[in-house]
């Protein structure tokens, strides 16, 4: 069982972070960055995040795992069909990767290869079913596996999405398809998170709240314009704008959000975008 699975099962408050593979083959900064992480249970390894082509998430996750960092492998439906996704999951298992975050994936329009043909052969619910099937010993064609993988599959959710009931229908489907934990989009407001967690209570699936470290008002506006599903509310943008030291204000905002997560959720997922050294300060 992965540490993440154990700690969540044991009711411990977990901390996850994320690392993006390089554009190119130089793994040193990513491996180095992972080594320096403190107080983190597992690290998400992103998969062509924002539809920008990078080294494969599986390759970096395998390296991290072998150098002793527990990973959460992100896999999207955008770039691979059902055969490639199954192959990669079996490959991940062979490298000892257990934690998965199975995603639809941002549309290719947002990235650096907008002319690529999007795949979306499966959606995230179907991919969770696929992982559950592999764990039960058969592939999607019903053929038996020689060596059965063990996974701890997770899914993503935007707790502030509207219409709420529509979003939550899909959460219910993801749980039915085998999602054992959720990691959320960046959380910016207490109210929507509280409402979401109240709806989650009967499902008994742990939720790790997404916390984004914003360094400036400019960055917040950029995220609003360019990252699907991220909507930094105007009052927060103003706080960053009016602050003498925007980075310190961003840290303060992140700390408040971690506080809400401690009150409502089972963990936090810290998106520090290159400022991993600030993680202890965010958790303090």
């Amino acid at each position: 069982m992965s540490q993440l699975a154990q700690q969540l099962a044991g009711g411990q408050f977990v901390v996850t972070a994320e690392i993006a593979p390089p554009k190119g083959t130089n793994l040193a900064p990513a491996l180095d960055g992972a080594r320096k992480l403190r107080g983190v249970t597992a690290v998400n390894v992103t998969d062509n995040q924002g539809a920008n082509m990078r080294l494969s998430s599986l390759a970096l996750a395998a390296q991290l795992q072998q150098s002793g960092t527990e990973t959460i492998l992100q896999l999207t439906c955008r770039d691979r069909n059902r055969m490639a996704l199954q192959s990669d999951l079996l490959g991940a298992a062979a490298f000892g990767i257990e934690n998965l975050l199975l995603l639809s994936g941002d549309h290719g329009k947002f990235g650096d290869h907008p002319d690529a043909r999007p795949v979306f052969d499966l959606d995230s619910v179907q991919m969770l079913d696929m992982a559950s099937g592999l764990m039960a010993g058969t592939d999607m064609a019903g053929k038996p596996l020689n060596g059965v993988p063990r996974f701890f599959p997770g899914a993503a959710v935007n707790p502030a999405a509207e219409p709420f009931e529509l979003m939550f229908q899909k959460v219910t489907k993801k749980v039915a398809s085998g999602a054992r934990f959720f990691q959320t989009q960046s959380v910016f407001e207490h109210g929507p998170l509280e409402r979401f967690m109240a709806a989650m209570a009967p499902l008994r699936v742990p939720v790790i709240a997404g916390v984004l470290l914003m360094r400036s008002a400019k960055m917040a506006r950029f995220l609003n314009a360019n990252i699907p599903g991220v909507k930094v509310p105007q009052p927060l943008i103003e706080r960053l704008e009016d602050a003498g030291d925007p980075m310190a204000e961003g840290l303060a905002i992140a700390r408040e959000t971690v506080g809400w997560a401690r009150e409502l959720c089972q963990g936090v997922h810290l998106m520090t975008l290159g400022h991993e050294d600030q993680i202890p300060a965010i958790l303090a």
């Binding site: 489907k173 699907p228 599903g229």
Partner: protein, 218 residues
């Protein structure tokens, strides 16, 4: 209908650089309706070709250019003019262009780019609502196609990019799943939300498509 548009003129210019005399073909069906290959557009093409120093040996607008036998018949009617030409220029969808190219030995230059099977919102506004997947889910989705009108073709509800019910790919467009959800609610039924939709059977859409009516259509 099939929505198509005229290719960029510099691309056409290049494709026609080795040809002096041309026979023009339009289509009276879709290409006429979307103002890409009807009488009017064939005439405009002829005028443009004149400015390029090209000669036109004749022209025809075929009833439905995708009908291979009908295209053959029309080309036979214009045998001499076709014979005279160095190439045929076809203002029809890719299907129509291939009816022509399968009926003549001569070079065929397609003048249009074919885009999608489109509904007409109002004159000159076309929207893709069906992408011919071969396994229709509309009866469960309140008559709104997620395969086509969701930018990712998702089958089990909206992605994380939906913002206030709008699509992450184009905020002018409403998320297909929100529309499906609202219409099902109005109809007081669960529809597609009652089950987890399994992965799509894409073998239904194996290309190239072939279909024959049973008993020869009788």
């Amino acid at each position: 209908m099939i929505i198509s548009e005229l290719k960029p003129l510099d691309e056409l210019q290049l494709a026609l650089s080795a040809c002096d005399k041309l026979f023009l073909v339009g289509c009276a069906a879709c290409a006429t309706a979307c103002k890409a290959g009807g009488e009017e557009e064939v005439f405009k093409l002829q005028e443009w070709l004149a400015t390029q120093g090209k000669e036109v040996s004749g022209s025809v607008v075929i009833d439905e250019a995708c009908h291979i036998m009908r295209a053959a018949r029309e080309l036979r009617h214009h045998r001499n003019a076709v014979q005279e030409a160095d190439a045929l220029v076809v203002l029809a969808c890719g299907s129509g262009i291939q009816s022509i190219s399968s009926n003549v030995e001569k070079r065929v230059v397609g003048g249009l780019n074919s885009m999608f099977l489109g509904n007409v919102r109002r004159f000159g506004h076309y929207e893709e609502m069906c992408s011919l997947c071969g396994d229709c889910i509309l009866n469960e989705t309140a008559g709104i196609c997620p395969v086509t009108t969701c930018a990712k073709g998702l089958l089990n509800g909206p992605c994380g990019g939906m913002e206030d019910g709008r699509c992450e790919v184009d905020e002018e467009i409403e998320c297909a799943w929100r529309l499906i959800y609202e219409r099902l609610q109005k109809q007081r039924r669960q529809g597609v939300f009652a089950r987890r939709v399994p992965p799509k059977n894409w073998s239904r859409r194996r290309q190239p498509g072939r279909y024959r009516l049973k008993n020869g259509g009788r």
